[in-house]
Amino acid sequence: MSDVRHLLWKAALVAAVGSVGVWVTGLAVELLRRPDAVHLVSRLGQWKPVILKHGIAAGLLVVAVLVTGVGLARIASQVLGEPDRGVRPGSPS
């Protein structure tokens, strides 16, 4: 595996874990503030018409976090690997 690809997947992992970490931390704070609350995911399955049934919403959350993490890593890899300084040659200053 090339260095770039290795760096890419490491960044994706960090971004994904970071996103999940932010989410979980937020949930933990909310749960601490309301001891009687139950976990978000258990709520998601209960009001079925609103979440379009079948747990689509919970799945979308997971997909959103993964796509965001991997996508950010790919974008970062592309941007940091660009040869010029961010503005295309010949662009107006």
Binding site: A64, L72, E82, G86
Partner: protein, 467 residues
């Protein structure tokens, strides 16, 4: 820039659009029924038009939200209406397989879909609602919840279009594909855009059209004034005028920037006159045509009375059930810094961080413009003008034309049509503070911050309903 380059989906832009799409789908699925500003009123417009075949007719009296009988039953059955405006009330859930009122929703009276259609959205032109009727009819066999969520998908698509247009604008202004992608992500992940992008609301079409128009303004600035380019711009603005009255401030500002461009480029008196005349003619035809149609059918014409409010722009976020005065008004920070900024920095970290970012970016744009370190200096004038001018005209227009001197409800979401311009100031302003060798790193950090803001907004807003 060639057409092939403009419409090519570069890998970083493809990832941006994918991120924004799945993010928006998550908001779409998670945001409960009716919990986004004015969703019942906009749905009532669609439902009345679709069921009766007639556009709702505006009246002189300020209409209350009059949803159909079916929608009113839905509010009762689901108990969602108990949450709106009552931050102390929690989202109702059941412990069983079905949600509250699901059986009643399934077996509810379809005849109750038609009432008088006199919603508070009845004054708006029909363009967005014509789009919304397509999913409404496609899901006509489902429950009202199915139909609302189907129409919300139009908004999801419009957020993606907004993001793409922001990227096109950045490419037009000279950023590389990577930096343009970072900018587009910064625009597309804006938390308030995420929230509104889950709604049945014509705001989203105005936002998308204004962002496309901002890109076209950038193109005219870079490539010069031509009849064809101005005609394209006029068409987009006219479509916005046929969507919502909030497009008018934008439509009024555009000729000023066209004039500015022509003063720089000197295309000749004849071509300048044709360009301005073409723009004014197309936009005026849309506005006057719609109002002539309204007069012909006996509907009330502007100025119409607005919702009287007492300082409600600030507390509206709380009233809508969000936690604290957070996401719905964060863009206000830029404009209310004099008396709101320090307070909100400590009251809400997310609001405060983004507000600080806006302030840092705005200062960077100002300093960078003077030093010549910001990309595409002329567009910074346009972007500042769009941001400040739009807000000023919105207040002036709302106050003078629609309120008859009463206080009007001004919400931060009203600034989303010029969010791409504001974001350009903030994004490139932040970049201008660092040496050129570090700008790409800062762009990545800004894009990442945009994603984190969105996640934090999800926790704060959606947590209000589910936790």
């Amino acid at each position: 820039m060639s057409a092939s380059r403009r419409f090519r989906l570069d890998p970083p832009l493809a990832w941006v659009l994918a991120i924004v799409l799945v993010k928006q789908l998550a908001w779409w699925a998670l945001m409960p029924l009716w919990q986004i500003p004015d969703e019942p009123a906009h749905f009532a417009y669609v439902q009345y038009w679709a069921e009766s075949g007639h556009l709702p007719r505006a009246t002189r009296e300020r209409p209350q939200n009059e949803p159909s009988e079916e929608a009113a039953h839905t509010e009762k059955w689901t108990a969602f209406h108990d949450v709106t405006f009552h931050p102390d009330v929690r989202q109702p859930f059941t412990d069983g397989e079905d949600g509250p009122g699901e059986a009643e929703l399934r077996d509810g009276p379809r005849l109750g879909r038609l009432k008088d259609g006199n919603s508070s959205a009845a004054t708006y032109p029909p363009l967005y609602y014509a789009l919304a009727r397509v999913p409404y009819h496609l899901f006509a066999g489902g429950t009202i919840v199915d139909q609302v969520f189907a129409i919300r998908l139009v908004s999801v698509v419009l957020v993606v279009v907004t993001t793409w247009a922001a990227s096109a604008m950045a490419l037009e202004l000279g950023l590389t594909a990577g930096l343009a992608a970072c900018f587009a992500l910064f625009v597309g992940m804006q938390p308030m855009l995420s929230m509104m992008g889950a709604a049945v609301n014509n705001d989203l079409l105005v936002i998308a059209l204004c962002t496309v128009a901002s890109w076209l303004l950038a193109r005219i600035g870079r490539q010069g004034v031509s009849v064809r380019r101005v005609a394209g711009l006029a068409l987009v603005v006219a479509l916005g005028v046929l969507t919502k009255v909030q497009m008018l401030p934008f439509a009024v500002l555009v000729p000023a920037f066209l004039t500015l461009q022509m003063a720089r480029q000197r295309p000749g008196v004849r071509r300048s006159a044709i360009a301005l005349g073409l723009y004014g003619g197309v936009v005026a035809a849309a506005y006057l045509g719609w109002n002539a149609f309204q007069a012909w059918r006996g509907a009330a014409l502007p100025p119409l009375p607005a919702t009287p409010c007492d300082f409600n722009w600030y507390f509206n976020a709380v009233l809508w059930g969000f936690q604290g005065r957070t996401m719905a008004h964060m863009v206000n920070t830029m404009f209310w810094a004099a008396f709101g900024w320090l307070d909100t920095v400590f009251a809400d970290p997310v609001y405060g961080v983004l507000g600080t970012l806006v302030a840092v970016g705005a200062a960077g744009s100002w300093v960078g413009y003077r030093r010549g370190t910001v990309p595409s200096r002329p567009f910074h004038v346009v972007a500042w003008g769009l941001g400040l001018g739009y807000w000023a005209l919105l207040i002036l227009g709302g106050y003078q034309l629609y309120s008859h001197g009463e206080k009007v409800m001004l919400q931060g979401r009203y600034l989303l049509p010029v969010w791409a311009a504001i974001a350009w100031v903030v994004f490139t302003g932040c970049l201008s503070w660092v040496p050129e060798s570090r700008r790409r790193l800062v762009a990545v950090v800004l894009a990442t911050l945009g994603c984190l803001f969105n996640t934090a907004a999800g926790i704060l807003i959606l947590g209000r309903f589910y936790v």
